[in-house]
Each structure stands twice: as C-alpha cells, then as structure tokens.
Symmetry: C2
Subunit: 225 residues, 2 copies
DNA sequence: ATAATAGTGTCTGTTAGACATTATGCA
DNA sequence: TGCATAATGTCTAACAGACACTATTAT
C-alpha cells in the first residue's frame, strides 16, 4: 500500500490566499504542479508530522511556523499506481518565508483558482481552505500568516482575506484586546504613508506556538464552522 | 508498514459517556480490552471510512448512524511490532443500538475512566472525547446519541452529559427551535412518571445525515473548541 | 490646510441566561 | 389536592455592529 504525506502550504499573496505548488519530478504526473508531498520514511520520520516537516524542508526549503494535520485521504482511485493513503497537513506561513525559501522552485497559485491538480490534491486543498476559514473565525490562526511584527489594520486585512468578508473594525479590535495575545512595540510603523502611522504589535511569547480561542467567535454572523 | 483503522465508539450509559471496547483475540495485547480496530484491506475497502464501517460491523456487530474521521496516529512506538499508522474514527450510537448488537462481545466502559488501553488507544479516546465535546457545543451532534424519538428534556440531558455542565433550559429550547431540526410527534411521552408528560420529537428527514450548526454556539460561556 | 488612515467613544438592537409562572399528568 | 416535571413568558445584563468623532502623519 502506498503511504504518503501531502502538505497544503498557504500564504497571503497579492491580497488573496495562495497555495504553494511544486513541479513534480517523477511519474505519475511528472511535470505537473502539485502539492508538496512524498512517501513516509519509517526509518527517518518519528511520525507523519515529522514526515511533513521533512518534506517541506527538503522539497520546498520552507520551515513553517504552523503545521497541523488535516485529514487522511485514501482509496483505489486517487493514485494511478493503485490503492493509496495520504495523510494531509496544512501549513500557514508569512509571505516573506515563502519568498526567502532558498530554492526558488515554489510556485504560488491563488488558492481558490488552482484547478486541475493531480491526485486528489484539489480535494485536499479545498479541505485545507475550509479548515483555515473555519478555524480563523474563532481563533488567532491568521497571525501565522503575518510576519514577526504587524499592525492591527494589517492583521485585520489578513483575517478579511481568509474569511472572505469584511470585519467590523471596532469589534475586531475589541476581540484582539480581550484575547490578550498581542503586545505593542514602542516602535511605530510610519513609512511613506501619508496618514497617521499604526502601532506595531507582536505575538506574546506564550502564544507563539499556541492558538488563542474566542468563546463566541469574531463575526458571529459570518464564517461557518 | 502497519496500516490500520481504529474506532472510538461512544454512547451514553448510566448517565455518562461510555466507550465500546473489545477483548483482543490476537497478539499483541491478546486478551486486553481495546478499541475496535483492524488492518485496512485494500481489495475490500473503498477507503478507510469503509474499513471503519466493516470493522464495526464484523467485530462489534454495530452499524453506526454517525461515523467521522478523527485523526491519524503514527510512529515507531505505538505498536510493539514496529512503525505503524492508524487512521482513527469516532462513532456515536444510541444505547439501544449497542445493547442490540447481536454478538454480546462489546464491553462498555466510562469514557473518562477507561485507562490502561493498549497501543495509543488512550490518546485516541481522549481526542475523540475532545472532538465530540467541542463539536457538540455548536452543533446537533448529540442527537446521534439519542434513539429515533426523544423528548427535549432527554436531549438536553444528553447534551449535558457530553458537555459536562448544565445548560440553561430556556436557551437550549430556543436554540433547538431556531435550528429547526426537530419535528414534534403527536404522540406524547407519558409512562409512569408522576408529572406532566413531555412532547416527543424526531429528527427532520433532511437532518438525518447532516448536522445543524449554530453560529454562536449554545452555551457560549462553556464548552471550548 | 487637506487627504487618508489609525484609533476611540457611544448608542442601539440582539441575545443568552435568570427568574417566575402556567400546564399537566399521576399518586 | 399535592407533587413533580414540562413548557412558556418576561426581564436584564452583556455584547456585536453601526456611526461618529478625534488623532496623526505626509504632501
């Protein structure tokens, strides 16, 4: 039985969610763009999560600040070589990390425009998008799409890209405040913008590897679970 | 590589969540109580979900009204035979279905008391409980723990067992009303109770295989995600 | 001064939960 | 008639969203 790991690596690119694709080197589907993936190496990988980390590092040159198991896909039809099983993960990375990925083999495609992916990578991508959207509606997940420091308007823009709808500014800031996961930096963002500069924030250390959850979700009307 | 499927089958028993265990027939851990599980049969199983259905049917004699993939567990240490991978599912069934399971080999244990399970079945069970609790806090998931018909007080009691805390009666009924998933039956529950009988309900057909979701969750203060 | 965005104060409609009241069957 | 639980009405505090207003920079 074929056992592999596939990773849907998402980032923000040109104001939209984008997925990282790699050109396949081997059959099947050699030359096609596909999600980074590869076989599990039991001698080398402590578990499938470690396999996902290894695949991202060796094939895409990326170390992701957030990597979570998504679901396992299986069946006789998803790989032309026969019955196969793939443990799918999704990763969120800031655009800078993708840009500075060493080897420049990563191709970014609009996450909702990417079509015709080999295997069942279209399904995996769709599941990843649904999961990210769902989880973002009640957690701090989108901060992993931002760099080290960011302003609240920037963070809100990322939330809006992920959720696909505008968020009330006052409510958003209230939520972020009560979550208590951000700390302001005394330096400010000014740059050539002809308007009031925004306060820079960074994640509090205790939230760097942990999500903050809201009880009733930001934007209750909107993003479904 | 060892590839298997394990199922955490949950039901309500003696006023608490209970998990179905089976005595293992073969090594490793022969004779021990464990989650129903077995190898994937690529020739026979369309996918891992089908494998889970087959294992529940053949080993426990149970067909579950709700079966969902939970997560995949893997690593060199979880099975003494070597590096293994298990796709875990969880199932919810009404007590009657477990009781009438044909073969009486199923053993029920309090879900939070079950300890010392072989492999990493303790972890799988913990993940299943967390998932059920989380999902129940914003969906109609617990109706799968009830039989064909039930009263609102009965359903609320099941929610309270799952969530582990009392729910406001008025809020609960409002939520159920606005979800619109129940339809009253003209017959009533009376029985030997020395008080006013409760209205019987059943799931509307369009919700028999689909969850109803609330935007902001019942009991916002409580059950976390 | 003006433009443009950052950030805050305040009002209002909605909703969850508390409490109280009525309803209904059985002993 | 009394008891126990079902079912519903109503009040209140909390909160999300709308709107308006102030703050601060560059041109």
């Amino acid at each position: 039985m074929i056992c592999s790991v596939d990773v849907a690596l998402l980032t923000v690119h040109q104001g939209a969610l984008a997925v990282a694709l790699l050109e396949r080197e081997h059959e099947p589907f050699a030359g096609a763009l596909a999600l980074p993936g590869g076989f599990i190496h039991p001698e080398e990988d402590q578990d499938t999560q470690a396999a996902a980390v290894r695949i991202l590092r060796t094939k895409a040159g990326i170390v992701s600040p957030y990597l979570e198991q998504l679901a396992t896909f299986s069946g006789p039809g998803r790989d032309p070589r026969g019955w196969s099983l793939a443990v799918a993960y999704y990763a969120l990375v800031p655009p800078e990390v993708v840009a500075g990925s060493g080897c420049g083999r990563v191709v970014l495609r609009g996450a909702s425009e990417a079509r015709g992916l080999p295997f069942d990578h279209g399904q995996i991508l769709a599941a990843a998008l649904a999961r990210v959207q769902s989880k973002s509606s009640y957690s701090s997940l989108p901060v992993y799409l931002c760099g080290e420091t960011f302003t609240l308007p920037q963070l809100q823009a990322v939330y809006e890209v992920v959720l696909g709808e505008p968020i009330n500014k006052v409510s958003f800031r209230r939520k972020m405040e009560e979550l208590g996961l951000l700390e302001p930096l005394e330096g400010q963002l000014l740059a050539g913008k002809a308007h009031r500069p925004a306060q820079l924030y960074r994640l509090r250390p205790q939230f760097r590897r942990r999500l903050a959850l809201t009880d009733r979700g930001l934007n209750p009307g909107g993003g479904g679970r």
